[in-house]
Symmetry: none
Subunit: 357 residues, 2 copies
DNA sequence: TTTAGCACTTTGATTAAAGGAGTGCTAAAC
DNA sequence: GTTTAGCACTCCTTTAATCAAAGTGCTAAA
């Protein structure tokens, strides 16, 4: 698809995107000739720009403004034209000081990553602790608190556990809980989380005799817990950075963004983007999310021992300093993975056994 | 301080604040006479307004606009003039549906409280789970996973639970865990979290015989969990609601707010505001926080058994529908407290100082 | 194929004028 | 003494008009 662009067109496109990223003003033919990098007249450049526009890489805000890149233009830029950015000493120092902090705790690392990222790039940062896709329920454990309250613990295959306090109007005791626990384990233990649906859980009701009244709260909690387990913890830092970019002064855009930050699900879906294990760049509405119009999301998964444990990234206007952002994200994501990897020390979560039991 | 206001001045002030809260436009003398509630000419009202301005309750955006309340004006309004707002059927239903969810888990309740609050009031909601300094460990529960792994669950007095996977090189089985659990419960259950220090935990080592090797990961976990439990978790919902109020279109204000939401410490400090146990209203820069200029924070602590376990509130423009907000917050805060500590007639949760086992 | 030249469009900033809202003050009425 | 009608004044907002700047597309020549 891209081969249709002559080297000269590519060079012009690159120059336009670079300039637009830097200034935010539409760039005209004259500005390019003045930058000395082309020995062409503005008229020639105008012709090329007109063709780039016809091909869909550029657009004009209005008849007589300069050109700005379209989503396709940015796409081509990041795929083929963008140069690597070498992080400065100061930037490296900032990133390292965070990574060197003596904690191998993923939560903390990811939390800090967001802050550092927002600070360094001057875009809003996102950081997510991500549970790996396939997960099973290992077992349930019920702990009596008093006759109207017990604690439900759901232990998952990926070494995580969810707890939930359950209040019940039907008095319970150790024996009842034992019984309940067996039924629950028979029904749900060992199953993949995704196969635990509401209708499936309903079947439990029959097995509980006089305690079938307990089933509905429990079903709800199991269902919630399953949902929660699939829910990842998304942090967003530096929301106020959005305001530094005029594209978000339009209050409609800003509202879209803030709404998305609030809801989070949409954002998490975008982060699920499979594919590459390197930095992923989503430009504008590429993935069909309306609220992303005019914005780009750049992120990289954090992979430890072949498992995705989270991701860090940045969200900002399409007119984003991609090369710097990509370098920073790559460095940070890899750095966190490194920090997580070594030293199996006390109290840490052990690496997953291939089989237990 | 307030006695200097004649009843008529108070009525006029109230009418102005009410009108301004509703429309957001400065209100002039004519508008008040047209509202039929005063049998006075606009000239008389103008005189009163001029005096109210001299006293510091009103101000004019410019020479020939109407008047708007000053911070002092709002203060007097909420302290003395504001009428109670009766929540509508629909609003009550919304609040109740959240409270009725059969979970006594504070985290979830507070999480949902924020969402419901933002939705109901149309202002940005804040919800904080505040560990009261005083929290106790109710009990421990150990669940075997396989001979080298078990799950440690710590149940706290304030209805929260922490879990941790423990891997051990010393093979364990149900009996060992039972024994461990007893030792743990003897040592730690019922104690205030703040009294659980590292040296104290170390003493456990002696009681465990051949399993004393297990103690160190457990100690680390308990210690971590205690720390985590003391951390306050501030959630902010409905940030995009800010954009519905023209006072935040001024991008400076908006940036201040978003910055404050990002940092959180400042906000947490404001929430620490002691004093009343009812709804607290902070207007503008009253507490010396620059970023709060033009904004108000309304919140109420959630108190269970005399202990503050969190708070819910709302943040928005000074021109806020205080009466509705206050009603909603009061209802929700009390409702959560109830849900955490249901009526004793059901004989449910024993007060935390009760003996355990 | 490239370029110089030029007419054309659109934006943004500036200015001027008109309209509106609300006030403060004065003097008269209650 | 209080209240009110009347009126001049101030300041904001909107609209329209003008002007300069920026950038383009097109044509014709190099």
């Amino acid at each position: 698809m891209y081969y249709e662009l002559s080297p000269r067109k590519q060079a012009i496109l690159k120059a336009i995107v670079d300039a637009y990223i830097e200034t935010g003003d539409p760039v005209g033919s004259k500005a390019l000739t003045q930058s000395k990098q082309f020995v062409l007249s503005s008229a020639t450049i105008r012709n090329e720009m007109a063709e780039l526009e016809a091909l869909g890489y550029l657009e004009q805000p209005h008849t007589s403004a300069g050109r700005i890149p379209t989503e396709l233009g940015y796409r081509f830029y990041v795929d083929a034209l963008m140069q690597d950015y070498a992080l400065s000493q100061g930037e490296l120092a900032e990133l390292n000081s965070m990574l060197k902090a003596k904690t191998a705790e993923l939560d903390k690392l990811i939390q800090n990553a967001g802050k550092v990222m927002a600070n360094l790039t001057n875009y809003t940062a996102i950081a997510v602790k991500q549970s790996s896709g396939k997960n099973t329920v290992t077992r349930f454990s019920l702990t009596l608190i008093d006759e109207n309250n017990f604690l439900l613990v759901m232990v998952c295959g990926n070494r995580s556990a969810k707890t939930r306090f359950v209040r019940t109007d039907i008095p319970v005791n150790e024996e009842v809980l034992e019984m309940l626990s067996q039924v629950l384990n028979n029904f749900v233990a060992g199953r993949d989380l995704s196969t635990i649906t509401l209708p499936y859980l309903m079947q439990m009701e029959n097995c509980l005799g006089q305690y079938s009244g307990l089933v509905s709260p429990i079903i709800k909690f199991v269902y919630d817990a399953v949902g929660e387990e699939n829910q990842r913890d998304l942090r967003i830092d530096g929301v106020d950075k959005l305001l530094e970019y005029p594209e978000f002064l339009d209050q409609g855009k800003l509202k879209d963004m803030l709404g998305m930050f609030d809801r989070k699900e949409e954002l998490l879906e975008l982060l699920d983007e499979e594919g590459t294990n390197d930095v992923t760049i989503l430009i504008g509405k590429e993935k069909g999310v309306q609220a992303m119009e005019g914005s780009s999301l750049v992120f990289k998964k954090i992979v430890v021992d072949g498992k995705t444990v989270g991701a860090v990234g940045v969200i900002g206007p399409c007119r984003m300093d991609y090369s710097k952002v990509v370098s920073a994200i790559r460095y940070l994501s890899d750095g966190i993975a490194d920090a997580m990897h070594p030293r199996p020390s006390l109290g840490e979560i052990p690496p997953p056994d291939d089989n237990h039991k």
